[in-house]
Symmetry: C2
Subunit: 358 residues, 2 copies
């Protein structure tokens, strides 16, 4: 029996998608091969590869002047690639709203001036800081945010107004959860393993004028966006099966109403869980209400022993991966697109029962 899996990533995938993948794992269509066995230069694979790109463009309404790249190495590799590729004048602005935003900031220091515009570290990243526009660097190469914080459960509900400075957003844990206006960004990146597919592939959506020719530099070839762009992400063998899985997930999103429907579905789930927490005397959510994430819902009892008991009993009852990130403890329920309403309602019911009994 399948459990309700609240993992922050790799995370739950739609059951229909997994069933389809299982059914065609040995033979894809009439190709006589598994997708895993297909040459990345074959016509059979080309349909999958280009199909995934086209579907992502359609589902996210990505304008034509943005390129979609498949890159390996996770968001962490982007912490390197973004400054390496985008820092022309050698400076960028950062808002630090958690561990990953902090890493993006500290890695960028290797490549140039990485200015800290604001941070919410003073209150354990429990809010999104107000931004003082006078602190922004007017001629920065880019302005970086981590749009949804997976660990602490916060979300930017309005974007910084950066004027002509390209906005770069780590959307790893919120991509595909709601419609976004891609034209407001210079670059969007997201590892797949939260809302899009299995781990092993990272999506980069980049405005084409930001893709620089670095062939005359000594920068690692595999870290240059232009190499991926020029070769349709087929300079070398891409993670073909991960891309295939992303395509199946995108088909599922489209069949289920696209991103507007995903947003409504996600708001409904988040409301159930936040209401359960707000109406509880045992559980509380440490995040400033207006900054709450739809994807990652954190909560604590205030007592470490009780948190542990809750996590253990929840696991026995079929709710897994509810422990908070190893750096913060407490509980976290990640409720990405693929988590059904029933899973969240069942968790809320379980929390109520646990509170009554303890």
């Amino acid at each position: 029996m399948r459990v309700y899996n609240f993992s922050a990533g790799p995370a739950v995938l739609p059951e229909e998608v997994l069933k389809k993948a299982a059914s065609e794992l040995l033979e894809y269509g009439d190709s006589g091969q598994s997708v895993m066995e297909m040459s990345h230069r074959s016509k059979e694979y080309e349909v999958i590869h280009d199909g995934c790109i086209a579907l992502l463009r359609e589902v996210m309404a990505i304008p034509d002047n943005y390129k979609i790249l498949f890159i390996q190495g996770g968001a962490h590799m982007q912490f390197e690639m973004i400054p390496l590729n985008l820092m022309q004048k050698g400076k960028a602005d950062f808002v630090v709203t958690g561990q990953w935003a902090g890493k993006a900031h500290s890695e960028a220091k290797k490549y140039g001036e990485a200015n800290l515009i604001a941070s919410s570290k003073d209150k354990t990243f429990s809010y999104i800081p107000e931004l003082d526009k006078s602190k922004f660097t007017p001629d920065a190469d880019y302005f970086h945010i981590c749009e949804n914080n997976t660990i602490f459960g916060t979300k930017f509900w309005s974007l910084p107004e950066t004027g002509g400075v390209p906005l770069v957003s780590d959307m790893s844990s919120c991509i595909l959860s709601e419609p976004v206006d891609v034209s407001k960004y210079g670059l969007i990146y997201a590892c797949a393993q939260k809302n899009m597919g299995p781990s092993g592939v990272t999506i980069v959506i980049i405005r084409e004028d930001l893709i620089r020719d670095l062939s005359e530099t000594k920068f690692p070839t595999m870290l240059q966006y232009k190499i991926y762009d020029e070769n349709n992400s087929l300079y070398n063998t891409p993670p073909t099966y991960s891309i295939y899985m992303c395509k199946l997930v995108l088909e599922w999103i489209k069949e289920n109403g696209g991103l507007a429907a995903m947003k409504a579905h996600n708001e409904k789930k988040a409301a159930i869980l936040y209401n359960a927490i707000d109406n509880s005397k045992m559980f509380s959510n440490p995040v400033v209400k207006k900054d709450r994430s739809l994807m990652n819902v954190t909560f604590v009892t205030g007592k470490e022993d009780l948190d542990k008991k809750f996590i253990a009993e929840a696991k026995k009852a079929g709710f897994v991966n509810l422990a908070g990130h190893r750096s913060v403890g407490g509980m976290r329920a990640s409720i990405y697109n693929a988590m059904p309403v029933e899973g969240v309602q069942a968790l809320a019911d379980f929390m109520k029962k646990f509170e009554e009994e303890n």
Copy 2:
């Protein structure tokens, strides 16, 4: 019906492995989850991750002073990481026996002195050059070879005697095809998608004294071996499903007699195909006999039109991906571990029939 797939990579996988993967794709054991959905920090995944490492160590008899790392980005990323991590004195030696060895060589020039010891480019890489030891750099940081050339179908059947200089080998297309003495190498690397699993993960086997602390440098964090080593390849989310597939393939190898049995199996297949070519008046293999690969068998008719006709008719008959690499043309049959003897025999029979008819 499954075809006989002679792709050079991603390549055929054992049918038993694919069936097992399909059967547990929705739910792995009693975990209630797909492997793709498992948190990479969960106990369930840990068993797979550490199990894959332990199996590879067992199957290849890897000594304790070698570390096994899972890295993304393919062999191409290793063309960058190897010089970046290993070039301390800033010089290394290279033998260029084909396109990938050539890329490894040219990428290394970014990081230091990359000396060309020998090349077989003069005869379209159809042989492994004799090495003049007096040309070796005595204090090089390493000596690089591509042990099996996937495109041209050559293989180093004896290793260069590099003395104290660590030998670095790209084993992408021959790893797991026969027993090797790992202690003769400083570093072995191989992308998975030929003999080990799906694309998206690359295995690095490195002697531990070669792992340098680069934390004080400005080198990209994700390109430092020490980061992977210190974190058991879990610094960030690894390509979990690809690693799981590699584990299944390693289990299959072990169950089928390990690397000694694989070697016998591969020699048998290669003999069938080379004999068919050598006994043919239509087909010929351009490689010097003593340097022939067991994994990639190239052949040509000498007429481009006839090559095309052969490839097209073979495809109709259920033999796919027989076209040579786009850079060289002709035919290539990649006959990795997972290709059954029956597949190779059927191809040899088909070649005979084609010759009679044309």
